[in-house]
């Protein structure tokens, strides 16, 4: 299960809405080993595309180094789908490389209702998990 503070949940949704129709992406960092997301980091989508996302490699390097120095890890890696459901695509699965992370998918295809779902992706196997929003 992913437990996420309301304020971080709202930031992910706001980022996805702001970048629509392009895909938005980012990270929630948290203390290593705690599984607790605490810090919101919106990342640039280097692809600026409605169907693909990729972290900018220079930005990723800086952010990963900051996390390393603060003894944090990427607890959540999120991105949006803007015309399809919030389920990992084949590309998402083939790139998934943080086995300890929660992969959050947000769909902004419906203007009024946002889908927000979370998955574990390990060795190509996708497992959906419940999302608990902590008020």
């Amino acid at each position: 299960m992913l437990t996420i503070p309301r304020v971080l949940y709202d930031k992910i949704v706001a980022h996805a809405r702001a970048d629509h129709p392009d895909e938005a992406c980012g990270v929630l960092a948290g203390p290593a080993g705690t599984d607790r997301p605490e810090r919101f980091i919106a990342m640039m989508n280097a692809e600026r595309s409605p169907t693909f996302y990729r972290f900018d490699s220079a930005e990723q390097f800086r952010v990963w180094r900051e996390m390393d120095e603060a003894d944090e890890e990427p607890v959540v890696i999120y991105h949006s789908h803007t015309a399809t459901e919030a389920y990992p695509s084949r590309t998402d699965i083939s790139y998934a490389s943080e086995p300890q992370a929660h992969y959050v998918l947000v769909s902004t295809r419906d203007e009024h209702a946002t889908e927000f779902r979370s998955y574990r992706i390990v060795d190509g196997v996708v497992t959906e998990e419940p999302v608990s929003v902590a008020e």
Binding site: E47, Y53, R54, Q60, I77, S89, T91, Y95
Partner: protein, 92 residues
């Protein structure tokens, strides 16, 4: 002195859990070949044929080696090489 190589979580199965390892070589490609002798299987996760795999980012100090010379990028003692999995995906 040697070249320090930082290993991401997903590849630490090849380094007995070590976060960083050391190696030698005059280019990035030679460094990976050197690492392979002590960390069998690692090179194959970084290199495909003669070039870097699409799924990994490799940095020399703080520069992405794709913007340098890829596997031919010269390296020297005291350098730090960082490997990070690329984070990417899409709707298809």
């Amino acid at each position: 002195m040697a070249i320090e190589v930082r290993i991401p979580t997903i590849l630490r199965t090849y380094t007995d859990g070590a976060k960083q390892v050391e190696g030698t070589g005059s280019t990035l490609g030679e460094l990976f070949t050197d690492l392979e002798q002590r960390h069998g299987g690692l090179r194959d996760r970084l290199v495909d044929g003669g070039s870097l795999r699409r799924f990994v980012n490799v940095y020399l100090n703080d520069e992405d080696v794709r913007f340098l010379d890829g596997l031919d990028t010269p390296v020297k003692d005291g350098d730090t090489v960082t490997v990070l999995p690329a984070v990417a995906g899409g709707a298809r």
